[in-house]
C-alpha cells in the first residue's frame, strides 16, 4: 500500500508540472504588470495546437516542435501586450480584465476555426516512449521528463530573478513600480518582456502536454480555473506560492481520485475556500494594503 501511495504521489507531481508552468506565467505577469490575464489558459491551449502543427510540418520531430511552438506563443503574447494591453494600463482595472477576457473568446474560436473542433492526439516521442519501474509500478519515461522539465523551469526562473540584472529589474518593478520607474527602469520594455515570458511558459506547458493529454479547444478553460485555484492558494504574484500551490493541487487530485472519487473535483475548491477564509491573500502572498 505504501508503495502505491508513493507512486500515486509521483503521478500527482507530474500533473502538477503543467499547472505550475501556467500558474507561474499568470503570477509573474500579475506581479509585474498588475494585470490578471484571463487568456492565460487560452495561451496554454494555443501552445499545444501550434506545437502540434509544427510537429506535423517538420516531419514529426518532437524536439524541434517543443522549441518552436512556445516561442510562437510568446510572439502572440508580444502582439497582445504591445498592441492591446498597453492601451489600457491607465484605464480602470475592470477594463484590463475585460480585454484579456475578449482574447479568451477570440483565441478559443480562432483555434476551432483553424484546427477544427475535434480532439487530436499526437504520439509520444520515441526516445521517451518507454516506462520505468518505480515503487513497483511502471511510470512512463515521459512523466519523468515532465518532472525534470518542470523542475528545470523552476530553477531557471529562480536563477533569472535572483542572479541576473534583468531579474533584479523585474523584482524591483514588482515591489514598487513608481520607484523603479523613477530610478530609470524602462518599464514598457520590461512589461513586454515579462508578458512574453509568461506567455512562453503557458505555451511550454501546452507543448509538453501534447504527448500525454489529448488536445481539445476546451483544455484552456480547464487549466485556467485550476491555475486560479493555485494562485489563490499560493498568493497572486508569488512564484514560490505558484510552485507549492501547483504541487498541492496536483497531489490533491491524484490522492483524491483514489480515496474520494466522488468529491475529487470539490476537494480543490474546498481547500481554496478554506484558504480564502483563513489567509485571503494566500499562503505566500503579501497582504494588500
Amino acid at each position: 500500500m505504501g508503495r502505491v501511495l508513493l507512486f500515486q504521489g509521483l503521478v500527482g507531481l507530474t500533473e502538477a508540472m503543467y499547472l505550475w508552468l501556467v500558474a507561474a506565467g499568470l503570477s509573474l505577469i500579475f506581479g509585474v504588470l498588475r494585470v490578471l490575464n484571463f487568456a492565460h489558459g487560452a495561451l496554454y491551449m494555443i501552445g499545444a495546437y501550434l506545437t502540434y502543427a509544427v510537429f506535423r510540418a517538420f516531419g514529426g520531430n518532437f524536439w524541434v516542435a517543443l522549441l518552436v511552438g512556445p516561442v510562437l506563443v510568446a510572439l502572440i503574447g508580444w502582439v497582445m501586450e504591445v498592441f492591446f494591453l498597453r492601451r489600457v494600463y491607465r484605464a480602470d482595472v475592470a477594463f484590463q480584465l475585460l480585454l484579456t477576457f475578449a482574447f479568451v473568446l477570440i483565441l478559443d474560436d480562432l483555434v476551432k476555426l483553424v484546427f477544427g473542433p475535434v480532439y487530436q492526439s499526437p504520439p509520444t516521442p520515441r526516445s521517451l516512449s518507454g516506462a520505468v519501474m518505480i515503487f513497483g509500478s511502471p511510470l512512463p519515461t515521459y512523466h519523468l521528463f515532465i518532472l525534470a522539465a518542470g523542475g528545470l523551469v523552476a530553477l531557471g526562473l529562480w536563477l533569472f530573478l535572483e542572479k541576473t540584472r534583468w531579474g533584479l529589474l523585474v523584482r524591483a518593478t514588482a515591489a514598487d513600480r513608481e520607484m523603479a520607474r523613477a530610478l530609470g527602469v524602462r518599464s514598457s520594455r520590461l512589461f513586454t518582456g515579462v508578458f512574453m515570458l509568461g506567455a512562453w511558459l503557458a505555451g511550454l506547458g501546452g507543448a509538453l502536454s501534447i504527448p500525454v493529454r489529448s488536445i481539445s479547444p476546451g483544455m484552456g478553460e480547464l487549466i485556467i480555473i485550476e491555475a486560479f485555484v493555485v494562485v489563490v492558494l499560493g498568493g497572486l504574484g508569488s512564484l514560490r506560492g505558484a510552485f507549492i500551490g501547483s504541487l498541492a493541487i496536483g497531489l490533491l487530485h491524484s490522492y483524491g481520485i483514489v480515496f474520494l472519487p466522488v468529491f475529487e473535483l470539490a476537494l480543490a475548491y474546498l481547500v481554496m475556500a478554506a484558504v480564502l477564509v483563513v489567509r485571503p491573500w494566500g499562503l505566500f502572498g503579501v497582504r494588500e494594503a
Partner: protein, 334 residues
C-alpha cells in the same frame, strides 16, 4: 444642457416606450417573434442584474451564469415535481439568492481582481456540479419535459400558461416589474452607497458605509434577479441544459452590458436587444459568433468604454466621446 435621455421626463418616456413595445409584441407578431422577444427580455434581466455589480459597484463578475443556472435548474426540478408555475419561479430565484450568499461570502472580501477571478472559478465549479451530478441534473442531457401548465395563483388569476402567448404576458410583466425594482434600487440609499464604493471604497468606508456588507447585499440581490431570469427560461424552453451554467453564458450579460453601456441604467437593456439581434444575424453566416463578439468587446474596451449609450450621450452633449465625467478613469484607483 442636459440631454433629453437624462432628464426625468425623457427617462419616463423611454420607460413607457419600452413597456409599450414589450407588451405590443404578441399583438403584432407571431410565435417566433414572441420567443425571440422573451429571450431578449431574459438577457435584459440577466444583464441588469450583472450591471448592478459592474456599472454601479465596479465589480466585474465572470460567473453570473451560476445563478442563472441555479434558478433554471431548481425551477425545472420543482415544475417536474408538479409544483405550480408562479411559486416554482419565485423559489428558483430564491435558490439562486442562497447560492449567491454562499459564493458571495467568499468573493466580496477581496480586491476587484480577486473578485473577477473567484466568480469565474466558482461559476465553473457550479458548471462542473451540474455536469457531474447526473442523478439530479441529468448531466450532459440536462432536464427535459418540463411542464408549463397552471400559474398557481388563486381564483381568476390561475391562468393556463401552456400557450406561448400567455406565458409571454406572464414572463414579460415579471421582467418589466423586476427592471422597475432594480431601477428603484439604483436610486435608493443602497444604490448610492454602491456608487460611493465604486468611486472610492476607502473613502466610503470612512464615511460610515459598511463596504463589505453593502457589496454582499448587492451580490445576493444580483444573484436573485439572475436566478429569476434562469427560472423564467426553464418553462420557456421546457428543457434545461448544462450550457446555462457555462462561462460562455456568463459572457453574454458582460457583452450585452458593455455594448449598451455600463454607466447608465438603460445600457444593459439596449445592449441585450443589440447583442441578440446581432447574434441572430451572425449565426446565419458563421458558427464562430463568439469570435465576432470577442472582437466587438475588444473594440468597446479600447475605444468606446461608455458603450452605445455613452457614445450617444457624448454626442448629444457635444463632449469628446471619451472624456465624460462618467468614464471609467474616474473610478477607484484599485
Amino acid at each position: 444642457m442636459e440631454p433629453a435621455a437624462r432628464s426625468g421626463a425623457g427617462r419616463a418616456a423611454a420607460a413607457a416606450v419600452l413597456c409599450a413595445a414589450v407588451l405590443a409584441v404578441p399583438a403584432l407578431f407571431g410565435a417566433f417573434a414572441q420567443y425571440f422577444a422573451l429571450n431578449v427580455l431574459l438577457l435584459m434581466l440577466l444583464a441588469l442584474s450583472f450591471n448592478l455589480l459592474f456599472g454601479m459597484t465596479g465589480l466585474l463578475s465572470f460567473g453570473h451564469a451560476a445563478f442563472y443556472a441555479a434558478g433554471a435548474y431548481s425551477t425545472a426540478l420543482l415544475l417536474r415535481a408538479g409544483a405550480p408555475l408562479f411559486p416554482a419561479v419565485i423559489a428558483g430565484a430564491l435558490c439562486a439568492a442562497v447560492l449567491a450568499a454562499v459564493v458571495g461570502a467568499f468573493c466580496v472580501r477581496h480586491t476587484r481582481v480577486y473578485f473577477s477571478m473567484l466568480t469565474l472559478a466558482f461559476g465553473m465549479f457550479v458548471y462542473a456540479i451540474v455536469w457531474k451530478w447526473t442523478d439530479v441534473t441529468g448531466g450532459d442531457d440536462g432536464l427535459v419535459g418540463i411542464p408549463r401548465m397552471r400559474l398557481g395563483l388563486p381564483g381568476p388569476f390561475d391562468l393556463n400558461l401552456a400557450p406561448l402567448r400567455n406565458y409571454y404576458w406572464f414572463a414579460a410583466l415579471l421582467v418589466l416589474a423586476s427592471a422597475g425594482l432594480l431601477h428603484r434600487l439604483s436610486r435608493s440609499p443602497l444604490g448610492l452607497a454602491l456608487r460611493a464604493i465604486r468611486e472610492n471604497a476607502e473613502r466610503a468606508e470612512f464615511s460610515g458605509i459598511r463596504v463589505r456588507r453593502t457589496i454582499f447585499l448587492a451580490f445576493v440581490v444580483a444573484g436573485a434577479f439572475a436566478g429569476l431570469a434562469g427560472a423564467l427560461l426553464a418553462p420557456l424552453e421546457q428543457t434545461v441544459a448544462p450550457t446555462a451554467a457555462h462561462w460562455t453564458k456568463s459572457a453574454e450579460p458582460v457583452m450585452a452590458t458593455l455594448i449598451g453601456g455600463p454607466f447608465s441604467f438603460a445600457g444593459p437593456i439596449v445592449g441585450a436587444v443589440v447583442y441578440l439581434g446581432l447574434k441572430e444575424i451572425i449565426v446565419r453566416f458563421t458558427e464562430y459568433w463568439l469570435l465576432v463578439f470577442g472582437l466587438v468587446l475588444l473594440g468597446v474596451v479600447l475605444a468606446f468604454r461608455g458603450g452605445l449609450l455613452g457614445a450617444a450621450e457624448a454626442l448629444l452633449s457635444r463632449r469628446p466621446w471619451m472624456s465624460g465625467p462618467r468614464t471609467p478613469a474616474a473610478a477607484s484607483p484599485r
